[in-house]
């Protein structure tokens, strides 16, 4: 966008100078400059704002203050928010960026322009760092927000029933509290880049309009007052690789961690990051662009009788690929959603489908799509009319898979390790396979390459103070980030005590990374470890039982300021662990269960209770 006197606070002369300068700047320079100006501005906080006098008050009527609140589990929401902040600051806005959990709710009323970026988890639940804010907003304590203008970006996955539910709730609730929606909410599916970009452009346009357009309001430009702008992050050299430009990482090792006779297959994958410039910290995740199982695609092609070589369009840009390649490498075929079923319905020839999709049958449709895939649909309601293109146009891009990183870059500078559980089960008369996990288990060999990028997760981090005790609960593949933690603490010589709870089915075959934990215990890097193997004994024993067995010591650790981490299954494990933790705090701390929950809420707020659950 070209700066002009009409769309910026600058005189035409200044705008021309800036127009010459800005395109010549690289990213690092832009970041430096924005930081420099922000710092200069806050240094003069008490002085009148050094706003160029040429700025016509009439040309900048609305506030330049924008608050961005995000609620994010995997880090996507955080990433988008940072990007939005950077973009707005480049346009001269003053941005306050905060996670919902860090935001002081008594400041909410003072916010003038609010952007909400929030994801949805599980059955329509808010992410961990949005729970308290979500609760606050829906409680009686929530203030009226007549002066607030807002827009919501919601992130989700359309294969879930409660798609983007949390975003929808924030959107509706803010409106109900009297706030004004200045730009319509955008719901993003797993392939969120394009809709996010559209939302950001729309938001920017509306905000800029409010600044310059029409001259309706006459508010003077105010100097940055309370919240300081986002400090420029250390201008580290950023990697050329990102979610939109993934790095082709070479496989260095791919090992099954489960011994013979195990019910499970857990792959330990080591990838080379050499030359990528990718940087990660313990707790971060790695995104993988997986491919579909060629066998499944071939079954689908056989069923549909589509020509595997026929060129099909695979994206909005109009790129084309042969159908088979498109189905293996680009398009999702393993998840059937209500939306997809509705889009494909007109192509289906089977009269039974009309019966299924008849009005009032929503529950039946919901039940049908659950756990089924495109091949099921084609077999049940095919053949499909029209061309392959008619059908595949409705398919989503294969969603990225995120895995908690199992290594420390301090310990392995050019590598990243993952712990991936192969998902295999039978359903509806056919063997089903997890896309990325079985690609890893069955079709990824040493020397092969796979597209990856680093997904930072700032909500799952080792404490800054290396002396802080940590308690880690990570059964199954939930162990991954804790291997990263231990590698990091060993490498940096951190002295803080550490306590790990691990569990799986069988001791002899499923004790993931057993010899490494034994060594860390022996060397004192790991202070103590308790294990629960559920199928070795008559009564099933899980990590929460081990926690309860040591409840007194566990509470002592918490009392001494230990940070409590949970990684792994959300539905059962994380819930049970939370419940047990609350009970331990209640019993050992002499608190009611409500007080224990408040204690945990406070721990969450002070980042002493962190979860990476899925």
């Amino acid at each position: 966008m070209q700066l002009q006197a009409t769309n910026s606070p600058f005189s035409q002369e200044q705008a021309d100078l800036l127009n010459q300068l800005l395109p010549a700047l690289n990213d690092a320079q832009k970041i430096w400059l924005s930081g420099y100006l922000a710092a200069a501005a806050s240094a003069q906080a008490s002085a009148p704002a050094a706003v160029p006098s040429a700025t016509s008050p009439a040309a900048a009527p609305a506030s330049k203050e924008v608050t961005i609140l995000y609620g994010s589990q995997s880090g996507n929401g955080h990433g988008i928010s940072k990007k939005a902040a950077k973009m707005l600051e480049e346009k001269g806005f003053h941005v306050t960026l905060s996670s919902m959990s860090d935001f002081k709710t008594n400041q909410l009323k003072k916010v003038e322009q609010l952007l909400v970026v929030v994801s949805t988890h599980g059955e329509g639940e808010p992410p961990d760092n949005a729970i308290s804010f979500h609760e606050f907003l829906h409680s009686k304590r929530a203030p009226r927000l007549e002066g607030v203008k807002y827009s919501v970006l919601s992130l989700g996955d359309s294969s879930y029933e409660q798609y983007c539910q949390t975003g929808k709730e924030f959107d509706a609730r803010l409106e109900a509290l009297g706030a004004t929606r200045f730009h319509d909410r955008v719901d993003c599916d797993v392939d969120f880049e394009e809709p996010t970009k559209a939302w950001l452009e729309g938001v920017l346009a509306r905000l800029t309009e409010a600044q310059g357009g029409g001259g309706s309001a006459a508010a003077p430009v105010t100097a940055p007052a309370v919240a300081g702008p986002v400090a420029p992050s250390a201008p580290a050299v950023e990697s050329a690789y990102s979610r939109t430009n993934p790095f082709e990482a070479e496989v260095l090792a791919n090992i099954n961690l489960n011994g013979r006779g195990s019910n499970k297959e857990t792959r330990h994958l080591e990838l080379s990051l050499e030359g990528s410039g990718l940087v990660y910290k313990p707790g971060d995740a790695l995104g993988i662009y997986p491919h579909n199982d060629p066998e499944l695609v071939d079954l689908l092609l056989a069923e549909t009788k589509w020509d595997p070589q026929a060129e099909v369009v695979i994206n909005k840009q109009g790129d084309k690929r042969p159908l088979r390649e498109a189905l293996i490498e680009y398009l999702e075929v393993t998840v059937l959603t209500k939306a997809l079923l509705e889009k494909l319905a007109p192509l289906a020839t089977n009269p039974d489908l009309a019966q299924l999709t008849a009005a009032g049958n929503e529950a039946a449709v919901k039940a049908y799509v659950k756990g089924r895939d495109l091949l099921d649909f084609v077999r049940d309601y095919g053949p499909l009319q029209g061309t392959a293109q008619d059908a595949v146009s409705h398919l989503r891009k294969i969603p990225v898979r995120l895995y908690s990183i199992a290594s420390s870059q301090t310990a392995n500078p050019d590598e990243v390790h993952l712990t991936i559980g192969a998902v295999r089960y039978d359903a509806f008369g056919r063997a089903r396979k997890g896309v990325c996990s079985t690609q890893t288990a069955e079709r990824l060999e040493v020397g092969d390459k796979i597209a990856v990028y680093v997904q930072p997760n700032n909500h799952f981090k080792l404490p800054e103070d290396p002396n802080t005790p940590i308690i880690m609960v990570g059964p199954g593949t939930g162990i991954a980030p804790f291997r990263s933690f231990m590698q990091e603490r060993e490498e940096t010589g951190a002295q803080g005590p550490s306590w790990l709870f691990f569990g799986d089915q069988h001791f002899t075959t499923d004790f993931l990374y057993q010899t490494e934990w034994q060594r860390w215990i022996k060397d004192g890097v790991l202070t103590r470890m308790d294990v629960a193997f559920s199928r070795d004994t008559d009564e099933k024993v899980y990590v929460q039982h081990r926690m309860r067995q040591h409840s007194k010591e566990l509470y002592e650790w918490l009392d001494k300021g230990a940070v409590f981490y949970v990684c792994g299954d959300m539905k059962n494990m994380a819930k049970d662990v939370h419940q047990t933790l609350a009970e331990i705090i209640s019993a050992e701390g002499g608190k009611s269960l409500e007080e224990a929950e408040a204690y945990l809420a406070e721990m969450k707020k002070s980042h002493r209770y962190q979860r990476d659950v899925y």
Binding site: I255, G259, T515, V531
Partner: protein, 572 residues
Amino acid sequence: MANTKLSAPGGNPSDVERIKRESNFLRGTLAASMLEPLSAGISDDDNRLMKFHGSYLQDDRDLRNEGQEQKLEPANQFMLRVRMPGGVAQPGQWLVMDELARKYGNGTLKLTTRQTFQMHGILKWNMKKTIQSIHQSLLDTIAACGGVNRDVMCNPNPYQSDIHAEVYEWSKRLSNDLLPRTRAYHELWLDEEMVASTPEQDVYEPMYGPLYLPRKFKIGIAVPPSNDIDVFSQDLGFIAIVENGKLAGFNIAIGGGMGMSHGDKETYPQLAKVIGYCKPEQIYDVAEKIITIQRDYGNRSQRKNARFKYTVDRLGLENVKAELESRLGWTLEAAKPYHFNDNGDRYGWVQGVGDKWHFTMFVQGGRIADYDGFELMTGLREIAKVHTGDFRLTANQNLIIADVTPQKKEEITELLGRYGLIDVQQYSGLRRSSMACVALPTCGLAMAEAERYLPVLIDKIEGILDENGLRNEEITIRMTGCPNGCARHALSEIGFIGKAPGKYNMYLGAAFDGSRLSKMYRENIGEEEILRELGILLTRYAKERNSGEHFGDFVIRAGVIAATTDGTNFHD
């Protein structure tokens, strides 16, 4: 008490001596080790002590390499050996072993070459439950391994049940009375309260003392004409002398043992030598005094020279006899004449005294398991459910279903038939006379396969036998995965000791009745060469043997190999 003329070898005590000394009578840190949750193993020190409790840590060697890559510790598991003097088990005890093997073990039972049950594959956290169940069945695992007197062997004699009953009682008595006295076993496994104050050591272990014996000590009782228990392979052997159908007493033989080390001629298998005769009621005294001689003069510095046989050879047989008589306070009578026919088992039904029947069945490699199309374990379980007599484990890893009443005989015969357990006739004489130790994958000492390979090798040798009309000829063949010789290879007409995967030393020339050791014929050879050598030798044997001449005698007469006249010339 110590004789001034005799002395123990010098040198620093071995590390095992330190472990015993520091163990507080075999406790060590076992209680804590068994509860440590991050490893299924225990420390080396504790594992040494574990042996005295009838068990030791092993790992599945088939999984070693892959497990290491998988970041898993070795597939640690315990072998548990039952103390069962004379190899006699009641049907209820059989059923308990069967259940434990399936519940906590690897689903099989091993009948050992010393007449007892061995279970493999028991995980650390199941050990206590397993031992408690064994205890409830009125058996135990005390001193089934370790540097103490081991389980006492005894001929299971199905022919003379009354003699057997009497000899069996003596073997039980020896086994029980020679047990360590420490309560460590009861505290560790049976939840007995620990004794508050440690009693004086001589009260605690009056015979063994706090250091127990330098090495294992084995006792066996043979009843001629059967030398099935290989009485000359024992540290202390008793040969029952039956006069007028009654047990008169025992000849005493001392200083036998099979173990040796590859490449070390200071180690060798040796036969026990008969030094005299005692009355039945003197048997405990003799055993106790022999054990104390070994306690006082055995080598506690070099473990591979610590067995009693080396003590006897070093001190001299006559000196040991004199020391024994001095400790006894009386003089041994002269040995009585005896005669052995063989060291194997006779198969099928025989009628004992009274109207009781006994069925001896061949168990290949002593392994009780269910195989594809051959449900040996299930069949024996079904028999145990209806059997009213007892089971007797033979020293050749076989099984006698003993004391079957005529009424039950039909039912048991039917079960034997139903499960295909009666078809020993189909086996060659060689296979019926075969024995193999466990070796791979669980034995940590094995250098080559034994139990898993010998049957395959015999399949191939049977071709040679058939060509030469020797299928029914009884020739003893034994294979052992390492030179320690659990399968008593040195008393076998054809013997093998593992050297490396697929490679064996081959031994020939032992006597069919267990009275002469073998000698090495070929070193470090593989299957092809084994078959070539046996092809030549068995063909010659078929053609050139004298009537009734056994293969072990033939190879000596034919000059194939020199006779080993004493353990000390085994390597010559």
